[in-house]
Symmetry: C2
DNA sequence: ATATACTATGAGGAAATTTCATAGGATTCC
DNA sequence: GGAATCCTATGAAATTTCCTCATAGTATAT
């Protein structure tokens, strides 16, 4: 029997293009998803996907089912929102603070979508950037902080959003352009253009340069476009999330290079106090953000192990759950 | 996690009003459905149903979920039809013959609905009534016969539609009006008004009167309304499906009485040849008929123990074990 | 008050789903 | 053209989920 779980998997599959990636998205193994697909084939009486080079492609039947899946998913989502509303405590507010400047790029559409779904919730963006956004939670000046995991503090809940790669951004005629990927030493003598935040909050510095004893000069800019402009005009190099620069790199405005052989990856979490996390609309905000980002942004990875003592499995292989 | 099976159960529950009846409809035990409901309560964070006298009533949350369930169900149904179309690529025809005259009452709307869903299938009603409609299948003059189960013949598939009660119909001033239920002897000396079919095809005669040696006079009429007119004008008594007479009885035009202490029940099946049953649109016709009848007609019971072969072939529905 | 019709619940078992382990197919890179 | 790398498929074992059975509980009606 066809169930919603199959439909969800199908959506993930359509959006990620491979069974393995889709499996991660729905927190299953590739094998489980493969079995699910076979079940769907059987149910439909014909193949729903066909193998297509690296990955897999929906057949006509698959596309028809996908349409149904999307319709069903949105129907369910609406219903759950209404349920939450019925559960009472209409009204509320959600004040969001950002640790990460680039997040502006995707936050606005997410906020719009959320406002449409929860008109009765007052949604605010805490203005300005703060040295320690997580302090805003304690000070009750924000309800939700979007940032990397700040270590475990009591009373705080971390909802995983996604993993993404941080790429080095170079002017198109930079001497390092020939390298496939950069290492710490390559940054020696460069000017690093960053957002105006403490060094410790910049992943490249904290996790790559500082351990290697490299301390490039810094220069700051508030906006992503400003940073890119500075890079393009050869005032220095930057390190930015791949989704934030994809368009510029594709267009040839700047170059993007991997940092380290397997890349420099970072994670984003939504951090809330426990009582905020208990509210359904907060959970829904996180879900909306996740869904929208995976749909819109490129090269995102789900965070496999959301909670305690995250054992990072670097090697390939199917470990999950 | 909420699944389609929960939504289907919810629909059945809303349409039948009690957990037990709904359970039968979805081929589960009352217990299983009760567990499902508890799971839904949990998922919704509040009760979905509340007990209400004999039976159960949807809460506001339940009603909201029901709406989602209906939307999802129709979405899935449409998708499956399209899948069948994609698989089939062909038109086809479905010639329907009726064993049971009264079935006209519900068949027309079902045919309309089916035509809307399968415009490319030519749908015909085999004209006139035949002494042995099942012979029409063998003669390839019909593809599907709606009637009671004609015993097991090879090459034929029986898809269960529903169980219904046959009630005795009396004029409002009939001497038997005081009895709660009638027995065979009560029919002695009465005139029995029936459709023009052989005695053996009339359940009341075959299963009640003949075994008791009672042989009332017979008089026939083609249409249900004609039979009711004759009864109302005291020309005799009749035995008709409860759904066919409910309106007339409620309105006080005739009286309806149970036959035997626990009633005289009959079953309706759609009988097809194997190759017809294999076609998806045929299965869908049966599903449409079932759904529509349970929704529209009163006092229907699901057929608990569908003949194993028929069930396998036809209902794309739940496994029942 | 007792019969009746319905629902709730816990335990045990059956069934479906997931994972594990592995094989096999395609593509890319020297 | 082989090695490396990604990807998917599949059978069997393991796990989780779901269903049924047995029975208790609750409301309604007679």
């Amino acid at each position: 029997m066809l169930e919603i779980r199959h439909l969800r998997s199908l959506i993930a599959l359509a959006e990620s293009g491979t069974v393995s990636a889709a499996a991660k998205r729905v927190h299953l193994t590739q094998s489980a998803l493969s079995h699910q697909l076979r079940a769907m084939d059987e149910h439909a009486g014909m193949p729903v996907v066909r193998r297509k080079g690296q990955g897999v492609e929906l057949t006509e039947a698959g596309r028809r089912l996908l349409a149904a899946a999307r319709a069903v998913a949105s129907e369910i989502l609406d219903a759950e929102r209404d349920l939450a509303r019925i559960a009472g405590r209409a009204g509320g507010e959600l004040r969001i603070a950002l640790e990460c400047h680039t997040c502006f790029d995707w936050l606005m559409p997410v906020m719009d979508a959320f406002r449409r779904a929860w008109p009765e919730i007052e949604l605010d963006l805490v203005a300005g950037f703060h040295p320690d956004p997580f302090a805003l939670l304690a000070a009750d000046r924000a309800d939700l902080v979007i940032g990397s995991e700040p270590g475990r503090r009591r009373g705080l809940v971390h909802a995983p959003l996604f993993r993404f790669e941080i790429l080095a951004v170079l002017p198109t005629d930079h001497p390092l352009k020939t390298k496939q990927w950069l290492e710490a030493q390559d940054f020696r003598g460069q000017t690093l253009i960053t957002y105006p935040v403490p060094e410790g909050r910049i992943d490249l510095v904290r996790r790559v340069l500082r351990p290697a004893g490299v301390r490039p000069q810094r220069r700051t800019a508030e906006l992503t476009v400003a940073i890119l402009q500075l890079v393009a005009s050869r005032r220095g190099v930057a390190a930015l999330p791949n989704w934030g620069i994809k368009n510029y790199a594709d267009y040839g405005y700047v170059l993007a290079r991997r940092i380290g052989k397997s890349g420099l990856w970072s994670e984003l979490y939504a951090t809330m106090t426990e009582d905020v996390a208990a509210q359904r609309f907060a959970a829904d905000f996180v879900a909306t953000a996740r869904a929208r980002c995976f749909e819109t942004l490129d090269g995102l990875e789900p965070i496999e192990r959301p909670s305690p003592a995250a054992h990072q499995k670097v090697s390939s292989g199917q470990s999950n759950r």
